[in-house]
């Protein structure tokens, strides 16, 4: 296995984590990772050696993700938002409600806000890295981050939760 492949492979667990949070579903997440790896391999010449490979992989995943979202259509393609998958039974019973809430709340965020929030809060990318990965200015990162966090806070503190749920339904 050459160096490039080994480097990419090291990042698979983190790509899976991010994809899981982003899509909320195990299968859809792994499909996203798989498509990302394929595309990253095909476009590997675009990665500048010495630059942050992980950030670049997030860029690739972002592009794949928005294409999938944009490309949802009936036909032989598997929809990204199929039935909800069962989550692994990691949490003790008492935590489950909270976890469900977190995931439900994440799903309420627009994709572009969810991406920013997860890259910053979960993947701990810097604001600049997040901006680079998504191809947006840092100012946009900050405003999306701010909106995402506030919306999540309101939903989980139960404030206008029902209102938001209604809008989404």
């Amino acid at each position: 296995m050459n160096e490039h492949e080994r480097l990419i492979e090291q990042h698979i667990p983190r790509l899976r984590r991010y994809a899981r949070a982003l899509t909320g579903e195990r299968e859809a997440a792994d499909d996203l990772v798989q498509d990302t790896l394929e595309r990253a391999w095909a476009k590997r010449h675009l990665w500048r050696r010495g630059s942050d490979l992980r950030a670049w992989l997030f860029t690739v995943m972002h592009n794949v993700f928005i294409n999938q979202v944009r490309g949802r259509r009936p036909g032989p393609h598997v929809a990204l938002d199929g039935e909800a998958m069962e989550l692994p039974e990691r949490a003790v019973q008492a935590d489950r409600l909270e976890i469900r809430d977190l995931e439900a709340a994440l799903k309420l965020l627009p994709g572009e806000q969810r991406e920013v929030l997860l890259l910053v809060a979960l993947e701990e990318l810097s604001y600049q890295e997040t901006a680079d990965a998504l191809g947006i200015p840092v100012g946009t990162v900050m405003s999306r981050l701010s909106r995402a966090r506030e919306r999540l806070r309101r939903v989980s503190s139960g404030q206008p939760e029902s209102a938001i749920l209604k809008v989404v339904k």
Binding site: P13, A21, P76, R149
Partner: protein
């Protein structure tokens, strides 16, 4: 204190722990006098913690084979080795099995032959018999349906004593084919090979081909061709093939 006003960005920088020391102290002083902002910051920090805690287990999960294998499979040497193995096995199998190597195979008989070879190649595998296991059946069927461009269904043969092991993607003459593997309690394996037929294929009744130890029942049903291979008696294989056909045509 002469300081820049605390902005929304500062609050997020504080939450994420990325402010320089001096600025951090200023933000802390500001928060001490602004309980509502302080509450918000606490909530945001909890979000960070909750997200990391919730998704940390994903890092510990074994990487599914289809993702791990993805990178390996690209290595040219390995790919070359796989092609050599394929051609060699195909050649050996064809040569050994029938003594009919001189006969020109038409496409109508070539594809069940490929199914038999695929059976011979993969059914003895101990560690990697399939690419996606039966535990991810829904994904398996979605993935292969997507690759073949036709909605597939996976027959369940539990009543006949055969449990699904999983499946894999294979190259057929003009595109992808799918292979589903089953096994009984003794470890006897059957494989069901599914491919998309060329436009001009006509539906057929069951046909049978015997390739040395491997029996193959095959048939064409609308868009798809099916070949069930196994090293079991012809009667039992027919019984399974009939069950497969019935399930696919309820």
């Amino acid at each position: 204190m002469s300081q820049l006003p605390v902005t929304e960005s500062d609050l997020h920088g504080y939450v994420d722990g990325v402010l320089p020391e001096a600025r951090r102290a200023e933000v802390e002083a500001y928060l001490a006098g602004h309980p509502e902002e302080s509450e918000r910051v606490v909530a945001y920090r909890r979000q960070n913690e909750a997200l990391r805690a919730r998704y940390a287990p994903v890092l510990e999960e074994p990487v599914p084979q289809r993702l791990a294998a993805r990178v390996e499979r690209r290595q040219p040497v390995l790919r070359y080795a796989a092609i050599v193995a394929w051609v060699t096995l195909g050649g050996v199998a064809g040569w050994h099995l029938h003594g009919l190597q001189a006969e020109r195979r038409t496409e109508a008989t070539a594809w069940p032959h490929r199914a038999a070879i695929a059976h011979v190649v993969y059914s003895p595998e101990v560690r990697h018999p399939v690419e996606v296991g039966a535990d991810q059946e829904k994904h398996l069927v979605n993935w292969l349906s997507k690759r073949l461009g036709a909605p597939l269904r996976i027959p369940h043969l539990g009543d006949l004593g055969y449990a699904l092991v999983g499946g894999r993607l294979l190259p057929d003459e003009r595109g992808p084919a799918a292979q589903f593997m089953y096994q009984d309690a003794r470890g006897q394996r059957l494989t069901l090979y599914v491919r998309v037929n060329p436009e001009d294929s006509r539906e057929t009744a069951f046909r049978f081909a015997q390739e040395r130890n491997v029996g193959v029942f095959y048939w064409i049903d609308r868009k798809l061709g099916y070949a069930l291979s196994g090293e079991i008696g012809k009667d039992e294989l027919l019984r399974v093939a009939t069950a497969v056909y019935r399930q696919l045509n309820p």
